[in-house]
Symmetry: D2
Subunit: 150 residues, 4 copies
């Protein structure tokens, strides 16, 4: 695999930061967090990033727009463990309606150890499953108007 | 993202096929399987592929060797739904000790609809976290000796 | 706690049996299956029991009826481990429309070791969240007419 | 089922309160949190309650003591939804070495709506799986000495 993860810090778009403790239920028999469990953390990061720029993903769904994941990539650098405090940094990598890409950097809060980096790509659909460009065009405009304010 | 998924059918290595029903607990509020839930299905596919070529991953761990995931990539083509019968085809893409890569093709059994393709890369470690090449060298030898028998 | 688990074998209603292997993703850092993971297994058991008596839970939801869980009880006797083959026996304990209760017995297939017993109670609602008695009255009639055939 | 949930507020032992947002990955196709997902929230509540009285469950495991769940009971009053802010109140219901029981009350933060109440019972084991009374005797002494300070 040859995947360059864009550093979250380099994005022209805003970055969100959330912190929380690793749950016991997220570990596996190897004694560390199961690799599938980082995807829900990234989802949590996206939700907060969108809230920060004025979007409620919950409201977006209630308005009839959905953003299913069409691609996801994770690189596991070091394992997170039960009760670790972790940071999830999320940024928007690119918006090309109907697509939006996010990238993520997950670190251990105590010492900044890099745990996982990742990317996800989503597509905007309406309730009937038809591709919709407007919601992301609007988001892009809002983000462009906010540039330099971060 | 630019990720070529090698077709599982093209591999020089054996392929395993497992089938099971989608669990309700694997769905999310979008009414389809949550994107993080395909990774445990791929894990299930790996376990069966290894069993098929004579390896028990459980036994391998009991012998002190672990294969943590260092990279994972998923491409979501169509969503799986509750109670769907799904097929998971798993093959070994490459073995370069201490690394092993698997690729996966997940389809709906009723009509063959492509749901998800993916790749994972793992590294062999011992209990102390030291990199170990022997277990995969041995596996590669066994697989090479079985070639043409599949 | 003082909870008598009715033996699944004593029910006047039919029993379903499903078998599958424990997934790695279902284990936790204690090296055994996480206690929350048995509930989805029971759900799988219910789905198969209903299918066996001629009901598709998926179809039931598509028809606009939902059966959210209102109570769940689990007793953990012995832990299941990764790659164990397990049996889940499910039976209907009681149907008092709009309620239905199931009970479960989860055992290790290799030696019959008792792993977990449990009960769940569900209520029938329509899409608007209103309580509905008819679907379970109908199910009870069908089951009563099948009695003695099991 | 006939299960009286002791009110968390009545306990002679301390109570912990944690708050967090519901993750999308915790929902199911019914559009609400899957019933199995409340158990990891209770686990999170226990971890914080123990931390509050001076215990690190992680440290306890590193010292060779484990507290597997032997019984769990949940009563589901109202469903939690994606992005809800929820409160989990945890208290110790009883300590009778080698057993400890916790009870939980999960509410929606915005309006106090009762979502789920529950109880869990755990047993203290050492690494070899032998029952151990000392760790909970010591915890009980510490808690008794703290009484009246809450």
């Amino acid at each position: 695999m040859n995947n360059n993860i864009q550093q979250t810090g380099n994005s022209i778009y805003p970055t969100s930061l959330i912190s929380f403790r690793v749950r016991y239920a997220e570990t596996d028999a190897m004694g560390v967090v199961h690799h599938s469990r980082y995807l829900p953390w990234m989802e949590l990061g996206r939700t907060e990033l969108l809230r920060q720029i004025g979007y409620s993903y919950r409201q977006t769904e209630e308005n009839g727009f959905f953003f299913p994941i069409i691609e996801a990539y994770c690189r596991y650098h070091s394992p997170a463990r039960y009760d670790d405090l972790v940071n999830v940094e999320t940024t928007i990598k690119d918006i090309r309606p109907p697509y939006i890409e996010f990238c993520y950097q997950i670190t251990r809060k105590s010492d900044g150890l890099l745990l996982v980096t990742g990317r996800t790509k989503q597509i905007c659909l309406n309730k009937q499953g038809a591709v919709r460009r407007e919601p992301l065009r609007k988001m892009k405009e809002i983000l462009d108007s906010q540039k330099g304010k971060h």
